[in-house]
Amino acid sequence: MISNLINRKILTLLKVQYSNMLEYRVEIALWAISGIIPFFMLNIWTNNNLNESINFSDIMLSRYFLCAFFVRQFSVVWVVFSFEEDSLMGKVSPYLIQPLNPFFRYFAQHLAEQLTRFPFALMIAFFFFIFNPESIWIPNLGILLLSIVSTFLSFLIQFLIQSIVACLCFWTEKASSIERLLFIPTLFLSGLLAPVVSFPTYVKSWIYLTPFPYLIDFPASLLSGNETNISGGLSMQILWIFLLFPLFRKIWSKGLKKYTAMGS
């Protein structure tokens, strides 16, 4: 009964958001294009033969960066910006009356957007393979499933972190600048610009204790068939989710008491 209700709610939300997102296909295509930084990085790496020093063949490296592109495409989170706008415009108030945490709405929005983005990402990958036909590979089903799971977990971690930051809106109004601050270590340490393997040892010694390498490097290495500790990576991702979720719950309930409706 209860689970049935939840199912219906989630399905409806997803349907609504998906049709919403389909309206903005061009934008989503553009957004997909804006994620091609990994390919530029790949160009620098291979063009200067930087990969020789870290025992990465050209083909493995191009697969790695392609996977990094994919993982990034399906783990992009922007909940802070939506929530900030909604809370500044006073749109959160009607959401709060509904018997559903507003974050479910944003969550459905993200999932729907990923679904819309999928064909564009495939198209970019297709072009990538035209230019680099030697890097075509087919991961086996088990690895593919595991990497989809780990990409989703990476998305969850980022969604939770951003939701926590978004809750700071209750106190400061402009939480997006904190998110921009957090984005910097995500950009440089997650493996989007350079695989974590290539990092100097003084960084590698502590980086695996932070959530960053599990956001892009781990799923991308897994999918591209590079060496990774599969069980270790997955369990670290789950551990971070278990750490972040209660924190989010706590900050949400505290912030809600602070909430003062803006506008009208």
Partner: protein, 264 residues
């Protein structure tokens, strides 16, 4: 007379927008930390590239740092002037408030390009200058008058190109209404400006100098600093900057013909 009028108006703009931005003092601090971390991050990335190589695309590490410095200065300028104003254009057009701008007895492009200012970008510009001075020391560049004027000219040209690119994309809002993502695409392309042009493969080099002239923005000024630049390159940059400025102006006037208010 006319110039004095605009100067007077600009002073008023500065006053009002500084007053409103300084209300968010913690924001400025957060932005400063973001700028510092972002610089550290990109130097870290560079150091990974140079780990086992003495040269990247013919540039030494100390030389590549100049590019970082110039990129940081230009990024600071973008964050101070271009970003806050040109995102405002999108708002003006979507909400139809561009009407009020057009009715004012001053140039509309002047108004929307300079109305707002984000003081946290100043700190980034200063950060870039500190790095630049450090680079001048490390690379033992002798400062003479010709060198100073040439570098000033090239940096001014870079600013003009950068402004035109931003303005160009924001102008397209008149047709597409939501160009937020197009700006994201531009941002991700601009990211390439952190690296010397020669480190990319030939096809990308062509792309970044003809289609989107990012090469001109950072690489040429850095070459001037190192005394590597030929005169024709500097001349070419001046020509490109002029063309870009004129086209952006023409494009704005052209686009205004298609502006058909919103709502009300």
């Amino acid at each position: 007379m006319n110039f004095r009028k605009y100067l007077k108006i600009y002073k008023k703009f500065l006053h009002t927008s500084l007053a409103s931005e300084l209300e968010y003092k913690t924001n400025i601090l957060v932005d400063l930390i973001t700028a510092i971390l972002s610089l550290i991050g990109s130097i870290f990335l560079l150091s990974i590239f140079f780990q086992n190589n003495g040269y990247i695309g013919g540039w030494k590490f100390e030389q590549a740092l100049i590019i970082q410095a110039i990129y940081t200065i230009l990024n600071g300028i973008t964050n101070t002037w271009f970003n806050p104003n040109l995102t405002e254009i999108v708002k003006h057009i979507r909400e139809g408030t561009l009407d009020f701008v057009l009715l004012k007895p001053i140039d509309s492009q002047f108004f929307i390009s300079l109305k707002k200012i984000n003081p946290s970008g100043f700190l980034e510009i200063m950060l870039g200058f500190f790095l630049l001075i450090f680079c001048i020391r490390v690379n033992q560049i002798s400062l003479n008058l010709i060198f100073m004027t040439l570098s000033l000219i090239t940096i001014c040209c870079s600013i003009c190109i950068l402004y035109s690119l931003w303005f160009f994309i924001s102008t397209t809002t008149i047709w597409f209404v939501k160009t937020w993502n197009a700006i994201e695409v531009l941002r991700s392309f601009l990211y390439i400006g952190r690296f010397p042009l020669n480190s990319f493969s030939f096809s990308l080099r062509i792309f970044f100098s003809i289609i989107i002239p990012i090469a001109f923005i950072t690489t040429i000024p850095s070459e001037v600093f190192l005394g590597l630049s030929q005169l024709w390159k500097i001349l070419l940059e001046v020509i490109v900057a002029t063309i870009f400025l004129i086209t952006s102006r023409k494009f704005w006037l052209f686009a205004l013909k298609f502006y058909s208010s919103a709502s009300s």
